[in-house]
Every structure is written in C-alpha cells, then in structure tokens.
Amino acid sequence: MLAINRYKCCYCGACVGVCPATALELVETWLEMSGDCTECGLCTRICPVGALEVKA
C-alpha cells in the first residue's frame, strides 16, 4: 500500500506525472490516491522529498 507522508509532501505533482496507472491526483496541497494504484513504486523514486513509500 502506498503511504503518503503529508507532513513531508511539498505537493509538486511529480508523482502524478510518472504514475502509469493514473492513480494519483494533486488537489492543491492534497495528494489523492485512487484504488487503481499498483504499488509499482515509481512515484516514490521521483519524489524529491521522499514523502512516498510503498509499505508491505
């Protein structure tokens, strides 16, 4: 499951740009995740601040 650390997230949207499943959406400062997430982890790697993590 993709965990979003909202205290770290700087809401830049880079994760949304790389998500192959269109599972992420940035609503101003709030990153939304839909059920389409495949836990591929691409978003965790692009995140400049390390706010995303795929947790087992």
Partner: protein, 391 residues
Amino acid sequence: MKCDLAVVGAGPGGSMAAKTAAQAGLEVVLIEKRQEIGDPVRCAEGVSKRGLSDMVKPEPRWISAEVRGARIYAPDGTSIVMSEDKSGTEVGYVLERKIFDRALAMEAARAGARVMVKTRALGLLRKNGTLKGLQAMCMGESLQIEAPLIIGADGVESKVGRWAGIDTALKLKDIESCAQFLLQDNSIDDQYCEFFLGNSIAPAGYVWAFPKGENLANVGLGILGSRSRPGEAVRLLKEFVKTRYPEGKVVEMVVGGDPCSGPIESTTADGVMLVGDAARQTDALTGGGILNAMQAGIIAGDVAAKALAAGDVSRTGLREYETRWRETLGRHIARSFEFKEFFIKLTDDELNQLIGSLRNEDVSNMDLRAMLKVLFRLNPKLRWELRHLVI
C-alpha cells in the same frame, strides 16, 4: 456554463493560449485549480531576454534580476563564462513567477477570458462519443463547462491528455526530480547564472544558482528520475548548499518534476490540445519550459480560433497546432533531448575534459547552441555520437 474554449491551468502556457484565443474573438474560460495563480512556484525562473521580449513586454515588477551571462562549472571546479549580451542565451532574466504568472492571467482576463480560480477539471464530458466539455469542481461545487474545444495546460501532473487518450505518463528516464532553495548568502554572484556539473552533486542533471537580487538566489538541482531514490533531490541539495554556501540561509523551498522526454508522439486528440509541461514541451537539456509553454500557448490559441471558425475541432482539424509547434520549439526540444541523452552518460572525467577543451576558446560571447558547436569541433567523440544531429 458555456464557452467556445476551456483552458485548464493558468500557468504561462494556459494564460497565453487563453489570451490569444480571446483576442481572436473566442469566448474563453480559463480555470486554475489553485486558489492562487503562480503559487507555490515550481521553477528556477530563468528565461532568455530575447525569447521573452518576443512574446510579452517585460515589466520590471516581475523581473527579480537581470544577469550578464552564465558560468558553467566542470566537476573539477574549472569554469567557463558565456555572455548574455551578444545573443539571447538561455538565461537573461530571472523572473518572479508569483507575479509573472498572475500578470499573464490578468492579460488573458483583459483580453476577455473568464478566469476561475479554485476550479479543478475532473474529466471530459462526452455525448455519443463527441467531446462536449469539462466536468469541473469550483469551490467544492460541481460545475459543467460546455465547450467544443479544450486546451490542457495542466502541467507536469496533467490529466487532460490522459482523459483524451494521449499517454503522457513519464518514464523515470524522462523526468528530472528537482529541489530548490531560495537562499540568502553574501557570496552569491548577482551578475551570473551559475551551473554546476558532476555526477556526485547531481547525477544526470545539474545544480543551478540563479540570482534573485539582494544576495538571494534560486539554488537548486535536478537529477534524472532513473538515477533518483526517494528524497534524493533534497538530500543532494542540502549537501551542495552546505559545501558551497555554508552560511547560506534558506528562506523558501521549492520542489518539482521537470519533463525531459523530448517531443511526445501526440499532443492533440479530438477537441483537445496540450500545451507546455502537459505536452512535455520542456527543453530536455536545460529543463527550461516557460517560453516553450508560452510559445505553444500562442500557437494553440490561434489554432483554436481557426479550427472553430472552420467548424472542425477534430484531431485532423487541429493538425496545424502539431505542425507549427513541432517545426518551431519542437526542433529545439528534439535536439536538446539528443544532447541530454549524450551528456547524462558522461563520467566526471569526461565532463572535465569537455569543459576543459573550451579553455583556449573564447566562448564569452556565445549562446548555448554556439558553444555546443565549438564542443563538436573540439571533441571527436561528441561529434561521432551525435553525428546525426545538425546543429
């Protein structure tokens, strides 16, 4: 709500598109999901003076600093200087995007476009397969915007293209993970934009320091997504700042993803055009995207008016947009992409050698392209690997 054209995203690309279309007589609605246009910034804010002046009249209130040129540092610390004055280089002005973006949106409004903030596109409206407009949300309320034509200028996190069937998802090798501090430090050179190369400081990217006046600078870096780990961009930036500006004070933090994919296959669908970062129209080598977005926005706004007048907003009817942007900015982006693909493979030794090869050349009056030409002349390996390119 009904209009001729709905533009999603009020960055420089969207605002120029809206302004151009409104000036051509279209009823335009420009929506922006944020409550404040231009903020938070996700940008290093450097633009070429000439490139900007070709499209808008520069105003002092949105220019933070004017620089004399660029200084590029090799990993070994040697540097070369490129001047701004002779030919419009990549940087000349460092903007204040928070003011600049608003000024462009206001220009669109003055031209007759209706600007709506805190209004987010949720999807495309279709009837019997034909595009009818946008489903949006404005201040938490559902809003339908009926429009035969939509311009998606919705940035790196663009959805408009995906909804229209254009796959704009970026591979990790086609996006830079970026972090930037607005830094206050007495050692900041306010005359030059500085670029630092090196695989340890910014793998497959670079560090920049763009002066903002009064001993302030946008100091940031980008690293290629495929060479990034979670949080790597900020970690590397902190390291660089600690070494280069030990007394530096961070007064703002900026992060973002910068597309560097080169031109994508398609930026149009029936009733849809993509502009700027949404169309991945950033320069793959420099990462610069402001002017490209504006230029594409102007073309899209113009084509929108023509297509509506001709009564054909199908993908075929919008072909002129594809053709025009690809023939202009598209060529630069494609070439930059090839250069980027070459440069990211270089080791620090090779980078030192490349910059070192310019030691006895006068590059002071050159722009990036002219300097690349000299590099070609001096470096057989570069010439060979990029032999298919005409620069």
